[in-house]
């Protein structure tokens, strides 16, 4: 059973198109994330949702819109794709260890979705 699954694994599209990446976790975690990994392997957080509520929104173009229909799903929609959007996008989920808002979060990552914009 895949804990955090993303679809599609590969996505090739033209500039200007709109595309979505879906993510689902079956771990029962409360928090989900989107990370972007660029061509130099650098990983940076984009968004984080806790129980369907947006809690982290880094400096990301508003062409990127996350949507969380329930706490097990976090989708990423990208409008008007640009060449610079080419990257691997990782979904992750976590559950707080320790509880009470003062614990730590251990992230479980999906396998990634490689987006190539031509």
């Amino acid at each position: 059973d895949t804990a955090v699954s993303q679809t599609p694994k590969y996505l090739v599209t033209q500039m200007g198109n709109d595309k979505s990446i879906k993510c689902e976790q079956n771990l029962g975690h409360d928090t989900m994330y989107w990370y972007k990994q660029d061509s130099k392997k650098f990983l940076k957080i984009m968004f984080s949702y806790n129980n369907k509520e947006l809690i982290i929104n880094e400096t990301v173009p508003n062409r990127f819109s996350p949507k969380s229909p329930d706490k097990a799903h976090l989708n990423l929609h990208i409008n008007s794709l640009e060449l610079g959007d080419s990257a691997v996008y990782f979904c992750a989920s976590s559950q707080e260890v320790g509880g009470g808002g003062s614990g730590a979060n251990v992230l479980t990552f999906g396998a990634g979705s490689r987006l190539t914009v031509l």
């Binding site: 955090v4 928090t31 994330y33 130099k40 392997k41 650098f42 990983l43 940076k44 957080i45 984080s48 806790n50 809690i55 982290i56 990782f90 992750a92 976590s94 707080e96 260890v97 320790g98 808002g101 003062s102 614990g103 730590a104 979060n105 251990v106 992230l107 479980t108 990552f109 999906g110 396998a111 990634g112």
Partner: protein, 113 residues
């Protein structure tokens, strides 16, 4: 500013040799520290984590890491490397109650037979 530095971009070792990957962090709060491994075309897998207590932590696949507060370091070690350990290794730092992990740029490990 919060940051994680992995000084070595590439490291090559021979199979059976020992390994140490360096990680230094700059973080204002009490850090939680992680090492993740990414095999080619795969997602990130947690190797080990440090929250508190014993500063030497054991992880999966025979890896260990030592937290040294005075040096702001969390170096990853393995006494004998296997060819299957070839991958990208990421150090990350977070803090309690804070969902954002900050990652280092990664160290690519190559293993020679």
């Amino acid at each position: 500013a919060q940051s994680v530095t992995q000084p070595d971009i590439h490291i090559t070792v021979s199979e059976g040799a020992s390994l140490e990957l360096r990680c230094n962090y700059s973080y204002g709060a009490t850090p939680y520290l992680f090492w993740y491994v990414q095999s080619p075309g795969q997602g990130l897998q947690l190797l080990l984590k440090y929250f508190s207590g014993d500063t030497l932590v054991q992880g999966i696949k025979g890896f260990e890491a030592e937290f040294k507060r005075s040096q702001s370091s969390f170096n990853l070690r393995k006494p004998s490397v296997h060819w299957s350990d070839a991958a990208e290794y990421f150090c990350a730092v977070g803090s309690r109650g804070y969902n954002k992990l900050i990652f280092g740029a990664g160290t690519r490990l190559a293993v020679h037979p």
